[in-house]
């Protein structure tokens, strides 16, 4: 259950953004997550309130966007959808593919409340 550790890292980043923008609170957090990141969305939703409690994101809502698994075939050069344990090219069947989407674990965006106006955003 490493999702709690991941959520604690997320809260650390979100807190930094809130601090540098002098925000009173964070209302929404948007995260992109690919199945091959090794992180489970539902487990992350469960762990999030524990990590967020008592922080600037204590009342924030976590929005998870699941990313598709896609590969680029090094053999035929085409792209295709792929599965967790089947990353072969669906066009030519070759296994020499490169993952182009599906292992993301990315903090995309946060919505801050009562941010001080006119503050430089350096995130």
């Amino acid at each position: 259950m490493h999702e709690l550790a991941i959520c604690q890292a997320l809260i650390g980043q979100v807190s930094d953004v809130a601090r540098s923008n002098r925000a009173a609170a964070v209302s929404d957090i948007f995260v992109s997550i690919g199945p091959l990141s090794g992180v489970e969305g539902p487990l992350m939703q469960n762990a999030f309130p524990i990590a967020a409690a008592g922080t600037v994101a204590g009342a924030a809502k976590l929005h998870l966007r699941s990313m598709p698994i896609r590969v680029h075939c090094e053999e035929c050069g085409r792209e295709s959808e792929a599965g967790m344990n089947r990353l072969v090219c669906e066009h030519c069947g070759d296994w020499r593919t490169r993952l182009i989407s599906g292992d993301e674990l990315l903090l995309q965006r946060v919505i801050l409340e009562n941010a001080a106006a006119g503050v430089e955003k350096n995130v």
Binding site: H2, V17, L36, S37, N85, R96, L99, L107, R109, A115
Partner: protein, 248 residues
Amino acid sequence: MCDTCGCNVTPGNEHLVAAGGRFAHTSSGAESVEVLKGLLDANDRQALHNREYFKRHSVFAVNLMSSPGAGKTALLEATIDALGADLNIAVVEGDLETENDANRIRDKGVPAIQISTGSACHLDAHMVHNALHELSLDGIDVVFIENVGNLVCPASFDLGQHCNVALLSTPEGHDKPAKYPVMFRAADVVLITKSDLLEVLGDFDPDAAESYLRQIANPAPLYNVSARTGDGMTTWLEWLRREVGRQR
């Protein structure tokens, strides 16, 4: 069109509502800020630092990962027996509890630092960094980081290693790469351990294990090894020597 889901933002006006844009502040005083950072950014930065530290000491660092009981410590003992005279080895051991594995390594005359993770199911770059404070890398050629026995969580955390070596022991079954694709996708080498049991078990097919590994688009070599009998150890040791040579 609405003000909540972003459907009113078009390529033509998005610069106005993006962080820092004229309309970035909504009527409620809320503000949207783009971040675009990996969630493991802090870990990855520490891992980079660890990697630079290894490089400065010309040390080759290996992250050993497998399920509990696949034979990581036995592999290390056999590797030390074979190479201990030629290469200076150090080991960082990760376990939830006990110094047992570190003691097994120390019995071979090799320095070992035990990280007790408590309830944590994986090592992270900060834990390894702290362990390295207790370990002198002067004259060391290779550091093995024996991760917590777990085929799930360790795969998500970069420690600053140069290579990931995943062990798949024959009693576990040859379809482990299909069951744990995140772990086996990260492997630079897969060792099929306890190969002396292949004959007894009868149902572990090394070719099928390789096929499952290719299905997840991993070109890593697979070597059959038995730490107990020594069979196949030569190929693994050759690989290790070659990689150590590259870091010098």
